[in-house]
């Protein structure tokens, strides 16, 4: 790549003191706040400010049991992967379906005035309704179980993808259409050669938000009486008054959501390396 030839890159190379230190510094800084929180949690539980929350050590021990088993050997021992996979299949399934529906709809609404006039008011009206408000209706429509969770994740991911796709398609710099047409690229050919690539950063933002919301919604979705899933674990933990189970479920959701976001960001950085303001 000629990237190394750019003045910015050369400057950056000169400034970096040593590659190892430069890489460790952000990690160290990022760990400060979680570290402080952990210390506070430890102090608060060790000094018995509350009796309902287990200590970090107890929680860690339970986490090991939840993932690998062999300590308590109860109904939840060594079941973490089952629940994680169940949740992941709903998150990615619902997200994938939302993407399949929202992308074409967004391109349509953004590009074709008739589609915009017909569909946009409806979606604007539906959008402010929180996904959680759909819970009772979705249980009636899809029953108690996995399908209901799936539907809620779909709804949660659908709107961010739709709205950002519309935004991206509508906000293409008009100069680029003029440039394309004077170069001989006209009509429908402009859709693939101008509109789609120009809208890509927005579409990606929508996908990232949508996937984040999908993880957000999964807990609510799995409160509809599914036997497996991290949301179900948290609900069970609550009814059984097993707070360590609740915390373990929360941590796994957090980590899984974080990793899936980093993957999307990495894909985005690769696809959008041309874009100066898109480096997550």
């Amino acid at each position: 790549m000629a990237l190394a030839d750019t003045p910015q890159q050369r400057l950056a190379d000169m400034r970096a003191p040593s590659p190892w230190l430069a890489r460790l510094k952000p990690i160290g800084l990022a760990l400060i706040v979680p570290g402080l929180l952990l210390i506070f949690w430890h102090v608060a539980t060790a000094r018995r400010w509350t009796r309902l929350i287990p200590t970090p050590y107890e929680t860690a021990e339970y986490m090991v049991d939840f993932v690998f088993g062999g300590i308590y050997n109860d109904a939840f021992s060594a079941t973490a992967h089952i629940h994680l996979l169940a949740s992941m299949s709903r998150v990615y399934g619902g997200f994938g379906l939302a993407m399949l529906a929202a992308l074409p709809l967004g391109l349509l609404i953004g590009r074709i005035p008739l589609a915009r006039l017909t569909l946009d008011p409806f979606f604007q009206l539906m959008r402010p309704i929180p996904v959680t408000a759909w819970l009772p209706l979705s249980m009636i429509l899809f029953g108690l179980g996995a399908r209901s969770a799936f539907a809620l994740v779909f709804l949660g991911a659908f709107f961010p993808i739709l709205l950002n796709t519309i935004f991206g398609v509508k906000n293409v710099d008009p100069k680029l259409f003029e440039a394309a047409s004077m170069l001989g690229c006209k009509g429908n050919a402009q859709f693939f050669r101008v509109v789609l690539p120009a809208a890509l950063p927005s579409i990606f933002t929508g996908l990232r938000l949508g996937l984040g919301l999908a993880w957000f919604v999964i807990v609510v979705g799995e409160m509809t009486g599914v036997p497996q899933g991290l949301g179900a674990v948290i609900m069970d933990g609550r009814t059984l008054s097993r707070t360590e189970l609740v915390i373990c479920g929360m941590i796994i959701i957090g980590v899984a959501g974080f990793i899936s976001d980093r993957i999307v960001v990495a894909i985005g950085n690769r696809l959008l390396r041309w874009s100066p303001n898109h480096h997550g």
Binding site: M1, A2, L3, D5, T6, Q8, D173, K175, L176, E178, A179, A180, S181, M182, L183, G184, C185, K186, A189, R193, V194, P197, A198, L200, L272, R273, W274, S275, P276
Partner: protein, 259 residues
Amino acid sequence: MAEPTLPIIEIRNVTKTFQLQGQTIHALKDASLSIRKGEFVTLIGASGCGKSTLLRIIAGFEKPSEGEALMWGKPISEPEPQRGMVFQDYALFPWLSVRDNIAFGPTSRGVPKAQARDTVERFVDMVGLGRFADAYPHQLSGGMRQRVAIARVLANDAEVVLMDEPFGALDAMTRERLQEELLDIWARTNLTVVFVTHAIEEAIFLADRVVVMTPGPGRIESDNPMALARPRDIASPEFNDIRRALSGKLHSHHGKKAA
């Protein structure tokens, strides 16, 4: 075969009006201009004189309200590759590398891949961007971006290059270098250039003819052939005389404003 006497671009009594808050604004009034193949014409004037409107009509981005714009005697109805536009703010495709930006025109028109690749490499070299062929526009300086924009139009076999204050956003030194490079390219090819600017020096330095335009309503004030030998020295007394004369013409409309 085009007759040698037929102008490549002809503007006949073109008027362009638009509506603004219920009022009719004359962006351009009764303008006529004829440009022969190979000429370098600059359009100069203060903002609101219609120079950019005239350029956009020649490009085919806008249609005249009255009169007609012709290329080789045929009405201009839409933007076409033979009239390439270079915008002030570059309008490069940010998601394409330098090479792919230059290849955009040829590939849009269905030029065979191998042939397009040769063309692109030739023009990448012509504008001196060989080392940056794989870089993206945001990694380039303004001067380099404008070189890409010029190469993009040339690689697409443009006969007429329309330039809308192309060097207006560049620093003085870069601007001078690009002016010289542009003249060099123009001298080596058979291009016709229509160049809009508001800088008198730039207009005189570049052009065979300087067309002076005045605002309110936008119209062509005068068409001034430049007899100065090239390369031109902007510090010479002859250059200075022309500059003074054109400056007078540019400001001639001020007294008539009330009319």
